[in-house]
């Protein structure tokens, strides 16, 4: 295996060389060593004392870990800054004068540091954290008695944190299992740190873990216990299989490797996958998922009538070649990369340039790493003479001088790089560039590390600062004059370029002080006249061994098709959020790398799997499963898809105003922030159905949650009602051409739900028509109903 995903969480911790078990000596655990006051050994500040703060809850954000401290005493959040912690301990508590010093080396028992956590809420707001003369007490006591020492240069470093067992399968649900945590240090020792370790369950509905690390379970499913000690994070997988209902696991289930890996996990959990979905479900699901549009009634009929055994694979190939594919996935890329605010006053234009640039790459199926290059290493010159760039910029700006003018000949779309990623007005801050790039192309959320060390990952504030330097080594220039941006200027309408020699740039001082460093990788110091350091950044990203680049992308695509990422949320890779199926993620990532980041290949692979083609109807064993892909999840259509679907079903087009040449009036692929379309031009609907304005670096900005406003919209909004009533729409035409009511009902069902109605449904609607004031009136009710049933609103 080229890319052992399961192992990376450990490898990442292995900053120094691996310690072989046989060379390492097991030392006695802390509770044994300091069981009484008889021990003469000095506890280690990093190894024992600070972890105890975490274990006892002292350094949490709601307690002394708060940036303001609590009642005058502050500890670093989660103990990530031991220097600060010790300094704080050695200081006298000014607010509790008379109570004595925090640390009293001569008479350790008189230290506030011991008195407070052993006393009740009356004297310690956080209440009693440990017992008098407990082992915890003696650790702190002995450390004080030894003079409260801390010498960072002479402290063994944690190289690995291990749990055992790594995976627990609970066949007996009344069973309880004790976890054990072992910490390996670079001084050739390892130690049982179970009682200094913080345990937490990622899903308490399934498994609970006590403070001491005893796991108990309550229902079928799987989750992880997260194990944290002294900055190290690892996890233990918990599986609770369903009880055996005697039904056999389906044979010959697997179609490709995806199915093998999904069913391997399902077998462990004793969950049977649902049956394959019907052709009608498949045609609707694949159209909606691949091109973001409903199949037309004719397309549905044709597919349902097709007898060829590989018709699903054929349809997948067909859809991936549709223009809708690039529009829909261009929209997704725009979400992920933050195609939000404008670079200049030509707001409409720059959002469109960005969207069209991505569509160009997707329709040509350029490799994913090349698309990422176009963002990360974007340059306005692209190696051309400055005059050429200026001419191009002028020409695009000139074309866009009117309110609704566009770059219709695609000058910008055809370029190799998308400079807007850098020159977007929201990106003026390098901090935002870091957050965006980490989120877009690595699936990492570095927000935590912006202010403090990441609680569930190894990213430190320093890592963040050094990574940020990559985004400071560019210069911005005014495309109309070619002049370097003056400090303090607004940044609007500027191009971006890698550093030229002799140029002084805005962040030069900062970067020299804080040389760029790859996340978990090498330092790449700035060299004057050296190559563009962003190339190094990109090369590191796309390298096969990068644990985030390929996995985060395949995971996003997977999350789109299944509603739940293997890592979920899909843009939140961290050690506290392990993949639900590491083998699957690993295989998908490797396969993507082996196929040279071929995006359509990845789509084809997933779409052709049996797993994707499963029915949404659950069986008795998989009803509650939400993350092992045993059946299809119901997903509300995204805002744009839903808006287009209403237009398609009623046969009345939307009107978004003037669009780039040859662009259909479809919501999918619209580039501008919603409200810029105006309430009457679809902006209102986009907003209430949760289309993101792409101002946050988080996939969660797009919302597919239901709301009352959405229901009101579909039930009663003028947009929808006018489309149902429109004389030029689908229904009035059908009323003229189709005399038979049942035939007309069939057509409406095929249009809205991509299936034939059942007999009961036909009867229901025939009955309604019989009681309606007129045929047209009754049919409008039926059409309205079809737009409001949940089967229409949800991809299934």
């Amino acid at each position: 295996m080229r890319y052992p995903f399961a192992a990376i969480f450990f490898l990442l911790l292995l900053a120094t060389s691996a310690i072989h078990a046989e060379e390492s000596r097991l030392v006695t655990s802390a509770p044994e060593r300091w069981a009484t006051d008889g021990s003469s050994e000095t506890p280690d500040f990093i190894r024992h004392v600070v972890p105890l703060f975490s274990k006892l809850g002292c350094n949490m954000r709601s307690c002394h870990g708060s940036f303001q401290g609590k009642n005058g005493f502050r500890l670093s959040l989660f103990g990530f800054e031991p220097d600060l912690d010790r300094k704080e301990l050695l200081e006298t508590d000014e607010l509790s004068e008379g109570d004595g010093p925090r640390i009293n080396i001569k008479t350790p028992a008189k230290s506030l540091f011991l008195e407070k956590p052993t006393s009740s809420e009356e004297t310690h707001e956080g209440g009693k954290r440990m017992d008098d003369e407990s082992w915890q007490y003696w650790i702190l006591h002995q450390w004080i008695k030894s003079g409260a020492p801390y010498d960072p240069s002479n402290t063994a470093k944690l190289v690995r944190l291990e749990t055992s067992p790594k995976e627990i399968v609970f066949t007996n649900r009344t069973q309880e299992v004790q976890l054990r945590a072992i910490a390996w240090f670079d001084d050739g020792t390892h130690e049982d740190v179970t009682r200094l370790t913080v345990f937490s369950s990622n899903d308490e509905g399934i498994a609970n873990v006590s403070t001491e690390g005893t796991v108990s379970v309550s229902r079928t499913g799987d989750t992880a216990i997260i194990v944290r000690y002294s900055g190290g994070v690892t996890n233990t997988q918990i599986l609770v299989p369903a009880s055996d209902d005697g039904q056999p696991f389906p044979d010959n289930f697997a179609h490709n490797q995806i199915d093998e890996l999904v069913t391997a996990k399902l077998r462990k959990l004793n969950i049977r996958p649902s049956v394959l979905c019907s052709d009608a479900d498949f045609v609707r699901r694949s159209y909606l998922d691949v091109i973001g549009a409903l199949p037309t009634p004719d397309e549905t009929r044709k597919f349902l009538a097709d007898r060829s055994p590989d018709k699903r694979a054929q349809l997948i190939d067909h859809l991936l070649e549709q223009p809708g594919y690039a529009r829909y996935w261009g929209m997704k890329f725009s979400d992920w990369t933050g195609n939000s605010k404008y670079i200049n006053n030509k707001a409409m234009l720059s959002n469109w340039l960005w969207q069209q640039w991505i569509e160009d790459k997707l329709s040509r199926n350029l490799p994913y790493d090349e698309i990422v290059y176009g963002h990360v290493c974007a340059s306005s010159l692209e190696g051309r003479p400055r005059e050429d760039f200026l001419a191009e910029a002028q020409s695009i700006l000139h074309k866009a001088s009117g309110r609704y003018n566009f770059d219709d000949d695609g000058t910008y779309a055809k370029r190799r790089t998308n400079e807007l990623y850098w020159t977007n007005v929201e990106r003026r801050s390098p901090d935002t560039m870091v957050l965006q790039t980490a989120s877009s192309f690595l699936g990492l959320r570095l927000e935590c590390a912006q202010c403090h060390n990441h609680p569930f990952d190894r990213w430190t504030k320093k890592d963040f600062e050094q990574f940020k330097s990559f985004f400071m080594m560019v210069q911005f220039c005014d495309p109309s004059t070619g002049e370097e941006r003056k400090s303090g200027s607004s940044g609007r309408g500027y191009g971006v370029e890698s550093l030229e020699s002799g140029v002084t740039w805005r962040f030069e001082g900062t970067v020299r002080k804080t040389p760029p460093k790859l996340l978990g990788g090498l330092e790449i110091p700035y060299v004057e006249d050296g190559p563009d350091p962003r190339i190094k950044l990109w090369e590191w990203m796309r390298a096969p061994e990068n644990p985030y680049f390929a996995p985060s992308f395949v995971n996003r695509i997977w999350g789109h098709y299944f509603g739940t990422g293997i890592v979920d949320p899909p843009d939140d890779f961290n050690q506290g959020n392990p993949p639900s199926n590491p083998q699957l993620l690993n295989w998908l990532a490797n396969n993507f790398i082996e196929h040279k980041f071929d995006i359509k290949h990845l789509h084809r692979l997933i779409l052709n799997s049996r797993t994707y083609q499963l029915s949404w109807e659950p069986n008795d064993s998989n009803r509650i499963d939400k993350k092992n892909y045993s059946h299809a999840r119901l997903r509300r259509m995204p805002a744009e898809v839903l808006i287009d679907a209403v237009a398609d079903v009623t046969g009345v087009s939307n009107n978004f105003g003037r669009l780039p040449k040859d662009r259909p009036q479809r919501a999918v692929g619209q580039a501008m922030p919603s409200m810029r379309y105006g309430a009457s031009r679809g902006g209102y609907a986009m907003k209430i159905f949760g289309r993101p304005d792409r101002e946050k670096t988080c996939d969660c900005e797009r919302s597919n949650d239901p709301s009352v406003a959405q229901a009101l919209y579909l039930i009663n909004d003028q947009d929808v009602l006018a489309k149902i009533d429109d004389g030029s729409g689908r229904l009035p035409k059908l009323l003229k051409t189709t005399e038979d009511d049942r035939e007309l009902l069939v057509e409406l069902f095929l249009t809205a739900l991509s299936r034939y109605p059942t007999k009961e449904e036909l009867d229901l609607h025939m009955e309604h028509l019989a009681g309606a004031p007129s045929r047209a009136d009754g049919m409008k009710d039926v059409l309205w109903t079809l737009l409001n049933v949940r089967e229409f609103l949800f991809t299934h």
Binding site: G126, C448, W616, R623, I688, A711, N716, L793
Partner: protein, 432 residues
């Protein structure tokens, strides 16, 4: 499933709160300075947002001795001696005993978008998180009677660029948006409109048909949060559509001509009247967004002719009417822009530009002592003298008035802990 930064799940916190022995108490228990401010009596809110940024020096914070910066307006006396206001605010001048003016709010977000998000949420804008508007928080914290939307957004006239957002609370807490002009002759609300043919009977008939037709998922014994959520949303939507209370509240035509005239026959005045009617019907937060205050040019001409008159009349009418009906006891009225405007008058054409270092706000209701002026600015209204308040404090005051703990912590979908307005402290003097 997700954890907050401390690795503690919400459930653990709640459990801990019950047990009360370990130090996981909600932050509010540590931080709320209980006892310093009287508990507020309120439950409803009307938030009036003057987008673009109202000039403080030409309205609430006149500086007759500021020389060239004084501007074209003279000040007039009000019903309280401590306050003189712009000559174009005669209606508000008469009601000065019923509201408090805060003159020493100050911040540093001098561009519209960040300034607006700050003043719409009580939190400075950050790239990684969208904070929810006040109304969305109120909708989450306070319930309305069946069929009545918790949070309603009304138009206040003028071009309005502010973006409203329910932020990390999700679209479920977005506003019920009534976009039509309540001053128009045949006013109807978009979401409630019953266009030609779609009578309430028709709606009921469709609802019956829908109920019978929407079977495919129901029969499959599914447990799905989104599916159930959509079902509940539909139920609530039909409740609203069929609610006589809501329909009646929006039937502004049933109000007497005299009272409608008192609020003023313009979008802003009639929106204020609608706000009162909605609060009576049980809506918990009404936000009115009034645009056009970005007076970089013709500051004096526009204030005098188009901006101040409707605002003055509508807001004064609202405060007087709420007072007369006893609604001011449990309803807060808060009026602010995103920032003030430069004391210096620019040479672009008698305009004033963005100025966040000093701005004024109006508060009334919920036990807030009317007839007082809090804080002062220097002689050119450039910045507060001595103490000042931040928009966080202003928001904390708003929440305090309606019984919402602004230190309350939510967890975003990705597990991040976010307080409602965690950096603010209520302005004690409002209740002093």
């Amino acid at each position: 499933m997700y954890k907050n930064c401390d690795g503690v799940t919400r459930r653990e916190i709640l459990k801990a709160g019950v047990v009360g022995t370990i130090g996981l108490n909600l932050p509010s228990m540590f931080q709320l300075d209980a006892g310093e401010i009287a508990a507020a009596s309120g439950k409803n809110a009307i938030f009036i947002f003057l987008t673009g940024g109202q000039s403080h020096i030409d309205t609430w914070d006149m500086k007759p001795d500021a020389g060239e910066m004084k501007g074209e307006f003279e000040s007039i006396a009000t019903s309280i001696p401590e306050l003189r206001v712009c000559e174009h605010m005669p209606y508000l001048a008469k009601q000065a005993d019923k509201y408090a003016v805060v003159r020493n709010v100050s911040h540093s977000q001098g561009a519209h978008s960040p300034g607006q998000r700050y003043l719409q949420t009580g939190n400075r804008k950050i790239p990684s998180l969208e904070y929810p508007d006040y109304g969305s928080v109120v909708a989450k914290e306070h319930q309305s009677p069946q069929g009545v939307p918790e949070y309603v957004l009304l138009p206040g006239g003028g071009s309005n660029s502010a973006i409203y957002s329910s932020g990390h609370l999700g679209v479920a807490y977005g506003p019920f948006s009534a976009l039509g002009d309540p001053n128009s002759k045949n006013y109807s609300v978009r979401a409630l409109a019953t266009p030609e043919g779609l009578t309430v009977n028709k709606l009921n008939a469709r609802q019956r048909l829908l109920k019978q037709a929407d079977t495919r998922f129901r029969n499959a014994d599914l447990s799905d949060q989104d599916l159930d959520g959509m079902d509940k949303s539909y139920q609530k939507a039909f409740d609203i559509l069929q609610s006589k209370t809501v329909r009646k509240a929006f039937d502004i035509g049933s109000e007497s001509d005299k009272l409608r005239d008192q609020y003023g026959r313009h979008t802003f005045g009639q929106s204020c009247l609608l706000a009162r009617r909605l609060v009576e019907a049980g809506t918990r937060c009404v936000s009115i967004y009034s645009g056009g205050w970005d007076t970089h040019e013709n500051n004096f001409r526009d204030l005098k002719n188009t901006l101040l008159p409707p605002w003055d009349q509508g807001l004064a009418g609202l405060i007087a009417d709420l007072h007369d009906r006893g609604l001011l006891d449990n309803t807060i009225v808060w009026c602010t822009g995103e920032f003030g405007r430069t004391p210096t008058i620019n040479d672009k054409g008698a305009g004033r530009d963005h100025w966040a270092r000093a701005m004024s706000m109006l508060y009334a209701g919920c036990g807030i002592r009317g007839g007082q002026v809090i804080g002062e600015t220097d002689k050119t209204a450039s910045e507060p003298i001595d103490e000042s308040y931040s928009p966080d404090d202003a928001a904390a005051s708003f929440y305090h008035a309606i019984g919402i703990d602004h230190f309350k912590e939510y967890h975003t979908s990705d597990g991040r802990p976010v307080m409602i307005a965690g950096k603010g402290h209520p302005i004690e003097k409002l209740w002093g």
